[in-house]
């Protein structure tokens, strides 16, 4: 009996037990679908994160106040406790003494109560200078930005993000409207362009932006103190060098001892990109491990059913031996059957995985490209699983003694 005939025999026996074959291969289907969907969605996520990092601004350095001793006593008007250990004079020194810096903006991040007509909610409020939007590469869609004049006078003006605009002023322009922030009336002067969600899920369009002086004086009732500083660079290639300069200026200004830890954290875009890539990689590895485990479990399912099949078909095996089938012919028949089951599962799983990946991509609005190497690996591994987990049952079948197999009831 040649290979094609053995293959045909195996295929025939497979197709005469369609339901069982499908159930047998369910583990493989799920494993392959998971592998392909996870890899493709993971790639989509990585792509998305990269886009977001790019859109955050092409080159900037962010300094965050992280001094554990600097937590402010709760202010009666403030809903959170912003960490205000960074000072304005430190900001100005950095801006003046660091050669590579192009623009800078102080930053204060806090949470405020926003009231407009029947709307009443807590939102994030960002204090900024007139340069913040330029550094962050974030255009104004309608109205005007914060001006130097607003900052000097700590004016009660605000820019709002798209999410808030849609919420408060559906179908209407927000420009010129008056909202109450912590019970004080503010005029909306500008509508920010859509920014989207950050990689951590934070909706960047769900914010109010005010002059940083306004937040200090009117919302937090402090004279000084920043939660962050943002600087753009003249040349992106000087990023790590500039980061070090900023660090040494800050340490000097804060009179930190040589062995003391920083009381601030500096992020630059390269680091953010690296961090998020590492996180994505770790996530990817984790998901691939899970998908691989389900493939192995699927393989064990195949072995289990194949062993049952061999027991069930002992008489058939005995008969085939009586008619002249050699051990290897029986071995081959059962291995091929197992491979066919797994390969079919691989194909169904592949279609399912591609479908899931595209559905998720469509739902989240991501660009999903099917990872071709994942498809190849999934198909190859399902075939190998068929071979590996089919071998033992097939070996068992081929080692049956003809007379014992034939007498089996």
């Amino acid at each position: 009996m040649n290979f094609a005939q053995v293959f045909k025999t195996a295929l025939h026996s497979f197709s005469s037990h369609k339901t069982r074959s499908l159930l047998t291969t369910l583990g493989i289907i799920i494993g392959v679908a998971a592998l392909i969907a996870v890899k493709s969605i993971g790639d989509g996520a990585k792509d998305r994160v990269r886009q977001q990092i790019e859109s955050t601004g092409t080159n900037f350095v962010l300094v965050l106040s992280t001094d554990p001793k600097a937590l402010q006593p709760r202010n009666k008007n403030s809903l959170t406790l912003p960490n205000l250990s960074l000072k304005l004079n430190e900001y100005e020194t950095i801006l003046n003494e660091t050669p590579g810096i192009a623009l800078g903006s102080p930053g204060i991040f806090t949470r405020v109560q926003l009231v407009y007509e029947s709307h009443n909610r807590i939102v994030s409020c960002v204090g900024a200078s007139e340069h913040m939007l330029e550094i962050r590469n974030w255009p104004i869609q309608e109205g005007i930005s914060i001006t130097r004049h607003d900052i000097v006078g700590a004016k009660k003006v605000a820019l709002i993000g798209q999410t808030i605009a849609k919420d408060l002023f559906p179908g209407d322009t927000p420009i010129g409207k008056t909202v109450r922030i912590n019970k004080v009336p503010y005029e909306i002067i500008g509508l920010l362009a859509e920014k989207g969600r950050r990689a951590d899920g934070f909706d960047e369009d769900d914010v109010i932006m005010c002059p940083y002086t306004t937040i200090q004086k009117r919302m937090l009732s402090v004279n000084d103190g920043l939660t962050s500083m943002l600087f753009s660079l003249k040349d992106r290639s000087t990023m790590s060098q500039t980061t070090e300069t900023i660090r040494s200026i800050l340490r000097h200004k804060k009179k930190l001892a040589a062995d003391a830890d920083d009381t601030f954290t500096i992020f630059n875009q390269d680091e953010i990109a690296k961090t998020s890539e590492a996180a994505t990689l770790a996530l990817n590895i984790l998901l691939i491990i899970i998908a691989s485990i389900s493939l192995i479990v699927g393989g064990i399912g195949i072995m289990n059913i194949m062993l049952v099949t061999v027991t069930e078909r002992t008489r058939e095996i005995g008969l085939r031996m009586a008619l002249g089938a050699r051990k290897n012919t029986i071995l081959l028949q059962f291995i091929i059957e197992s491979i066919i089951v797994c390969m079919l599962g691989g194909i169904v799983g592949m279609l399912l995985g591609v479908g899931i990946a595209f559905s998720v991509g469509h739902f989240l609005g991501w660009n999903i490209a099917i990872n071709q190497s994942a498809v190849a690996i999934a198909f190859l591994s399902s075939t190998l699983i068929g071979l590996f987990f089919g071998f033992y049952p097939a070996k068992k079948a081929s080692n049956l003694k003809p007379v014992e197999a034939l007498l089996e009831r």
């Binding site: 009996m1 008489r315 008969l319 085939r320 009586a322 008619l323 002249g324 007379v403």
Partner: protein, 230 residues
């Protein structure tokens, strides 16, 4: 010409610390064109002898020659080749593969011999004509009566033109009329084609239609008689 010869053929089974001897010491010679019935009560050893003659089992001791080759010395795969080419089996329960049509069932031993499918199928159709089932060639076993299934099995036993056909209770599942039809088919093959046929049966009516009757009891041949022509 001597087709099959056994010398002191014996088979015993070890079960724990007890040894059961199913076949004691059988000396037997079967010539070309013979039609033999092996009879005996249940436990007489006739099925064990049949399995040994069919190379489905290996003897504990003794020699077994088919066409002069001592098959007691052969490997599993060599025995598979002997079963394929020299022996045609007919079983009580027909043992057709339910997923295959009649013609594919008959062609199967041909495929194991390495003959291509097209040729095997056309030979199978000829044999189905011979057993008067040409019109049912493409039907599956479950669409046929017991007698028809047994005739398909006989066609399958014939396809590699074996030295001998071994039939184990071939009429055990059939009614009287069908039994006679199957026996007539065996007689026809024996007289017209000269096929050597060995039937194992416990029914005297069936055994009497052979040309020679071997009677077994307790693993030994107790009588070997020629049946006078009717």
């Amino acid at each position: 010409m001597e087709r099959i010869k056994t010398v002191k053929l014996a088979r015993s089974y070890v079960n724990g610390d007890t040894t059961v001897t199913a076949l004691k010491s059988v000396d037997l010679s079967i010539n070309d064109g013979e039609f033999i019935a092996i009879t005996g009560t249940s436990g007489s050893g006739k099925t064990t002898l049949m399995h040994l003659l069919g190379c489905l089992d290996v003897p504990s001791s003794g020699d077994h020659f088919i066409d002069g080759v001592n098959v007691a010395q052969l490997s599993d795969d060599e025995l598979a080749g002997i079963r394929n080419e020299k022996i045609g089996f007919v079983f009580q329960k027909y043992n057709l593969l339910p997923d295959l049509s009649a013609v594919d069932n008959v062609a199967l031993p041909r495929l194991y011999k390495g003959i291509n499918e097209e040729q095997a199928r056309s030979e199978a159709r000829e044999l189905l004509n011979l057993v008067e089932l040409g019109h049912r060639a493409d039907h599956h076993p479950y669409e046929m009566s017991g007698g028809q299934q047994q005739r398909v099995a006989i066609a399958r036993a014939l396809i590699n033109n074996p030295a001998i056909i071994l039939a184990d209770e071939p009429t055990g599942n059939l009614d009287t009329a069908t039994t006679q039809a199957i026996l007539d088919l065996f007689k026809k093959l024996n007289t017209e084609k000269g096929t050597t046929i060995v039937i194992v049966t416990h029914e005297d009516d069936v055994a009497r239609q052979a040309k020679r009757i071997l009677k077994l009891r307790d693993g030994e041949i107790i009588s070997d008689t020629a049946v006078p022509a009717a």
